[in-house]
């Protein structure tokens, strides 16, 4: 009987821990969002984080976008040429990227590059007592450290997604038009006729905005809530990538169903 009771107690304790963690993460999000910004001190911090979170993620976003666009064009051409509709490659590349692949893949890459870096940086600041010393100096680390990083991630990801889409379409054009010889006019005209600004581009950016919120929230929370040891930081970094990736894929399905589902 005792092992059963112990298991139930363990389950209960684990449930309580999870609820407490959700509560703490909610507090952090609330602080990051409602933190009263001081333009003189906050703006330079935000700019610095935009550089480290956004600008430094551009290389991986551009290279990945280029290759994904090229692969899409190649696969699309192979499939469509059998039906004589290879002129629709531009439309296929653009719609796949703008609606789906750019927000999702950019967010997954962002979680791996910037999210894990944010978690490790904040976790290490906690381990080396930098967050504690900031508190003792009378500066709230939630405002000084967490808020600028959160907003930088929230702002950066939609912009990175647009860059991903643009570079991907250019990569598709390189393969489709320059290499495989699709007529350039048809490539661009089909794309222009089929891609709707609000239905496709705006919906894709809404997805990117939601992913930006989720990935950055998970990253800063895992760093701030990490156990201040080297193993704790390693676990927190792993959790950031795993939780963010699962959240991106799950939310993508829900948002796709809401935006594009015709039920």
């Amino acid at each position: 009987m005792q092992p059963v009771l112990d298991s139930i107690a363990l389950l209960g304790r684990s449930g309580l821990d999870k609820v407490a963690a959700i509560g703490r993460s909610g507090m952090i999000l609330a602080h990051a969002i409602v933190a009263r910004p001081d333009p003189v001190q906050s703006f330079p911090l935000l700019i610095r984080q935009l550089y480290s979170v956004g600008v430094q993620s551009m290389v991986i976003i551009i290279v990945s976008g280029l290759f994904i666009g090229m692969v899409l064009a190649l696969q699309g051409y192979t499939l469509l040429v059998d039906y004589g509709t290879e002129q629709a490659v531009g439309q296929m590349v653009a719609l796949s990227l703008v609606r789906e692949l750019a927000p999702v893949v950019a967010a997954l890459l962002f979680a791996g590059r910037a999210g894990s870096a944010l978690t490790a940086e904040i976790g290490l600041m906690k381990t080396t007592e930098q967050l504690s010393s900031m508190e003792m100096i009378g500066v709230d680390p939630l405002r000084r450290i967490i808020a600028p990083r959160f907003w930088a991630g929230f702002i950066s990801l939609p912009i990175l997604t647009m860059i991903f889409s643009a570079v991907g379409i250019w990569g598709g054009m390189l393969v489709g038009v320059e290499w495989l010889g699709i007529y350039e006019g048809s490539f661009w005209a089909n794309m222009q006729n089929s891609v709707d600004f609000f239905d496709d581009v705006v919906n894709g950016l809404i997805k990117a905005q939601v992913f930006g919120l989720v990935v950055t929230w998970v990253a800063v929370f895992q760093g701030y809530d990490s156990i201040p040891t080297s193993e704790g930081i390693s676990q927190a970094t792993t959790k950031t990538v795993v939780y963010s990736s699962l959240a991106i894929l799950g939310l993508d399905f829900i948002m796709t169903a809401l935006m594009f589902g015709d039920f």
Partner: protein, 269 residues
């Protein structure tokens, strides 16, 4: 004059537990203003925890911690951050901000809490660095400093706003004899020159007793002895004597509690 005519911190009936174990049970501690008070005791007795309780980074289960009349555990988040402007803390690791130079580290609290023009900030920072002997290291990054230098920079940062209270968490741990001598000297001189109150948490007996005006020895979830360094030498308690003389065995046993060794060895046969 009595030490406790003017007290800056008054801790009453403090209870604090962690994982079902009492770290502090019904503890009363008073810290005299303008003096150097040492909190000593074996490792793991909660000395650093006491500093974090005073700093409001931990909340006690019950009891009050009055800093000039403000009950720290009952302050709201923003009030707590305001009260912390009266405190400076030197962390065991130094806890310098690794993305800032030495100069920027010391300037940080001044820039955040005052509206001083930049040339005045520069002057104040250079004076603080001069006081700890590191004006020449102003442009170095924390990664380029030795352990002792890091703590001196952290000390300059802790006193940057001339706080009423400076707390030192194990300031001498891991220091070579020269760095240790420098730190002992600095803590004493700064206390006298600036007139602030110092609380030193340490288990380095000789160094701490050489500068402390009053000492609390913490063990078994409470204060087991207190007094001036001279008074403590006369305390007739085996536990205090074991700690003061650094004896390996005594009331604090050498062995961690375990079953009888013969029984445990026979279990494997």
């Amino acid at each position: 004059m009595d030490f406790f005519d003017d007290i800056i911190i008054d801790i009453k009936q403090l209870n604090f537990s962690r994982g079902g174990r009492y770290i502090y049970k019904d503890v009363d501690i008073r810290i005299p203003r303008g003096k150097v008070t040492a909190i000593m005791g074996p490792s793991g007795t909660g000395k650093t925890t006491l500093l974090r309780l005073i700093g409001g980074q931990l909340k006690p289960d019950s009891g009050s911690i009055l800093l000039d009349g403000d009950d720290i555990p009952r302050l709201g988040r923003s009030e707590l951050f305001d009260v912390r402007e009266k405190m400076g803390m030197l962390f065991q690791s130094g806890a310098l901000f690794t993305d800032m130079t030495v100069f920027e580290n010391v300037a940080f609290p001044i820039r955040v809490h005052t509206q001083l023009p930049e040339d005045m900030v520069r002057d104040v920072v250079l004076m603080k660095l001069q006081a700890v002997g590191l004006r020449g290291a102003a442009q170095l990054m924390p990664s380029e400093l030795s352990g002792g230098m890091s703590r001196r920079v952290a000390l300059a940062r802790a006193i940057a706003l001339a706080p009423a209270l400076v707390m030192y968490d194990e300031p001498f741990t891991g220091q070579d004899p020269i760095a240790m001598g420098v730190l002992v000297n600095l803590i004493q001189k700064l206390n006298q020159a600036l007139g602030h109150t110092s609380i030193i948490v340490s288990h380095d007996i000789k160094e701490t007793l050489s500068i402390a005006d009053y000492v609390y020895i913490i063990a078994d979830s409470g204060v087991i002895a207190q007094g001036t360094p001279d008074q403590l030498q006369q305390v007739d308690s085996e536990q205090v004597r074991q700690f003061m003389l650094g004896l390996p065995d005594g009331p604090v046993p050498f062995h961690f509690p375990a079953a009888d060794i013969a029984t445990e060895l026979m279990e494997g046969c």
